[in-house]
């Protein structure tokens, strides 16, 4: 986690997928300080989105991010997807869902709270 699911009406080319994956990973890490290893992106194709949208992204992120960070995540990720798809920002819909870190197991252990990743990695290395 985070897990971003990007839904589109049709399949995307490997280049488009790569561009979107790189952008989401980079934006999430830059804005939250989370390690790239945590960032998952999944594509769902063939989705009958409302006419006014070219893509939809649902992000399940660890709870604890400020409203400002979440607003910036939304804005930058949607803009990056629009850019990759040669679309426009308002044609990308997004939803962010907060999930408490301690409700998720990843890397073999319960996830750390945002900001406690270094201690978590240290703990992993001793197991």
């Amino acid at each position: 986690m985070p897990l971003y699911t990007v839904s589109t009406k049709t399949n995307l080319s490997p280049q488009h997928k790569n561009e979107i994956v790189c952008a989401i990973t980079e934006i999430h890490c830059q804005l939250t300080g989370a390690p790239a290893d945590f960032v998952q992106v999944v594509f769902s194709f063939g989705v009958s989105l409302p006419k006014q949208f070219d893509a939809h992204v649902t992000g399940s992120i660890r709870s604890g991010r400020t409203q400002e960070v979440k607003a910036e995540l939304t804005e930058k990720i949607c803009s990056a997807i629009a850019n990759a798809l040669n679309s426009e920002r308002h044609k990308i819909e997004s939803v962010l869902l907060d999930v408490p870190a301690k409700w998720v197991i990843e890397g073999g252990e319960i996830m750390p709270q945002p900001g406690e990743e270094d201690e978590w990695y240290e703990q992993l290395s001793t197991h």
Binding site: M1, L3, S7, P14, K17, V21, C22, T25, A36, D37, F38, V39, Q40, V41, V42, F43, S44, F45, G46, V47, S48, L49, P50, K51, H56, T58, S60, E93, V95, L97, V99, K102, W103, V104, I105, E106, G107, G108, I110
Partner: protein, 154 residues
């Protein structure tokens, strides 16, 4: 009290055999019943994704993810025991390593919100058609292989 949960497992196509999925279903039920009581029932939806549709750290990934809802306000000690027992089942039966599996034991209400978001991304006009398509797939797979299976692609 009878409790019933819908569990969603997302796995890469052809990564798990029918036998592995059957064994995992049995173990997951045991994991639920050990923690939440023997009257607990679960329904497992297997969502497959083709190669090249999932990524971790910017690279293609075949890692499975699991959404395993629990009753709202389950205490953390119980939730942790549950999470590690599910992980143990995956590692023992699937061939995945423990650092490859992502499991979320979210409160039922949050899992519902996730499912609702999933449905609402679809145009309201076409939502009944999408639901019909998914239900048809699930019924067909239940008849053919005895499990509820669909694809991340609609």
């Amino acid at each position: 009290m009878n409790q019933s949960f819908t569990v969603v497992c997302s796995v890469m196509e052809a990564k798990l055999s029918n036998q592995q999925k059957d064994q995992l279903e049995n173990e997951f039920l045991k994991n639920y019943q050990d923690v939440f009581g023997t009257s607990t029932r679960i329904k497992i939806l297997w969502m497959s994704f083709p190669e090249g549709q999932a990524y971790v750290a910017g690279k293609p990934s075949s890692n499975p993810t699991m959404l395993a809802p629990v009753p709202d306000n389950t205490d953390q000690a119980k939730r942790s025991v549950f999470l590690y027992s599910l992980l143990e089942s995956w590692v023992t039966l699937s061939g995945y390593k423990k650092d490859q599996v992502v499991i979320s034991a979210a409160d039922q209400s949050l899992a519902d919100q996730f499912m609702k978001t999933n449905q609402q991304r679809v145009s309201s006009l076409k939502r009944p058609l999408m639901m019909a398509k998914i239900i048809t797939r699930l019924i067909r797979s239940k008849i053919q292989v005895g499990r509820l299976e669909s694809s991340i692609n609609l």
